[in-house]
C-alpha cells in the first residue's frame, strides 16, 4: 500500500513541475507578430517570386531548360544592330513554379533573380498564370509593395 501512496505523491510532484514550466513561460515575451499590421522582412537570400532585369537578359534559354516544372516560357531573337540576343517573350507561371532557385543559379548574366515577395496569393486564377516579366508592372495582382520594413 505504501508504494501506491509514494507513486501518487511522485505523480503530484511531477504535475507541479509541469505547472512550473508553464508558469515560467507566462513571463516570456510573445514570439508571434500581428501579421497584417506588422510584416516580417525576408532574409537576403529568400527565394520569393522570380523577377527579371529585362536588359541584362540575353535569352539563352538556360533558365527555361533547367526549370523542373517548366514554369518559364522564354523566346528570344537576334537583334541585328546590337548583334546581341534579346528576349521578346518571357512568361512566368507562378502556379507551376516550385521556388527551387535553380533558374537563379544557372542564369549566366544574373538577369533573373528571386525577389523577397512572399504574398503571392490572388483572387483569380488568371492573375497567377501568364505573368509577363518583360513589362514593368509584372505582378499586377500584388497590392502591397513587394518589400516593406517592419512597422515598429
Amino acid at each position: 500500500m505504501l508504494k501506491e501512496i509514494y507513486q501518487i505523491l511522485i505523480g503530484f510532484l511531477s504535475i507541479l513541475k509541469g505547472l512550473g514550466v508553464t508558469w515560467k513561460n507566462i513571463f516570456r515575451k510573445p514570439v508571434t507578430m500581428e501579421y497584417p499590421l506588422d510584416k516580417p522582412v525576408m532574409t537576403a537570400k529568400h527565394r520569393g517570386l522570380v523577377d527579371l532585369i529585362p536588359d541584362k537578359c540575353i535569352a539563352c534559354l538556360q533558365c527555361s531548360k533547367i526549370c523542373p516544372t517548366a514554369a518559364l516560357v522564354v523566346s528570344g531573337i537576334m537583334n541585328p544592330e546590337t548583334k546581341k540576343r534579346a528576349p521578346d517573350k518571357f512568361v512566368y507561371n507562378t502556379e507551376l513554379c516550385c521556388f527551387c532557385g535553380l533558374c537563379e543559379e544557372i542564369c549566366p548574366t544574373s538577369a533573373l533573380f528571386m525577389n523577397k515577395c512572399y504574398e503571392i496569393a490572388c483572387y483569380q486564377h488568371a492573375d497567377l498564370t501568364p505573368i509577363d516579366l518583360l513589362r514593368s508592372n509584372k505582378y499586377q495582382h500584388l497590392t502591397s509593395p513587394r518589400t516593406r520594413e517592419r512597422k515598429k
Binding site: 527555361s64 531548360k65 533547367i66 526549370c67 516544372t69 517548366a70
Partner: protein, 150 residues
Amino acid sequence: METAIVSKSIQERFPDAIVETKPEWICLKKEIFTPVLQFLKTGHLAFINLHCITAVDRQGSVEVVYHLYSFEHKWMLTIKVILLDSDLTIDSLTSLWSAANWLEREVFDLFGVKFTGHPDLRRILNPDTWSEHPLRKDFKRDGFIPRPVR
C-alpha cells in the same frame, strides 16, 4: 563480405539456382527462388532484414529487385529475378518477412507483378478500380509534362 562469397554458398546448396553473378547483384531463377531466400534468411548469412523490393521495367521483361541486409555481416545483398512480360508472377515472400506484405503490394500496384501466395494482394497507392500500372514504360498520358526540351 562479397557477392562472390554469397553466390558460392548458394551454389553449393542449390547448384542450378544462379543465372548470373555480378559484383553488384545476383540473378536467380524464378522456379527455385523461395528456397534460396529461405536459406539466405535462416542460414549462416543471416539476411534477416528485407530492406526493399522494387522492379525495373526492361521493355520486354520486368526485373524484380530484392535488397536484403544482414546485421551480422553489415552487408547489403541485391537479388534479381527476371520475369518475362508474358507471365508476371513470382512467389510471395510474406511467409519469410512480413515487411514484404506492403512492399509487394506496391510493386503489384505500380508494375502489375502478381505475387502468388500473398495474403491480401490489392493496390496500395492507387484506387482499386484502376486497371493500368503507371510505372510501366508503355504507360503514357498526354497531359503529362513532356521531357524538358533539349
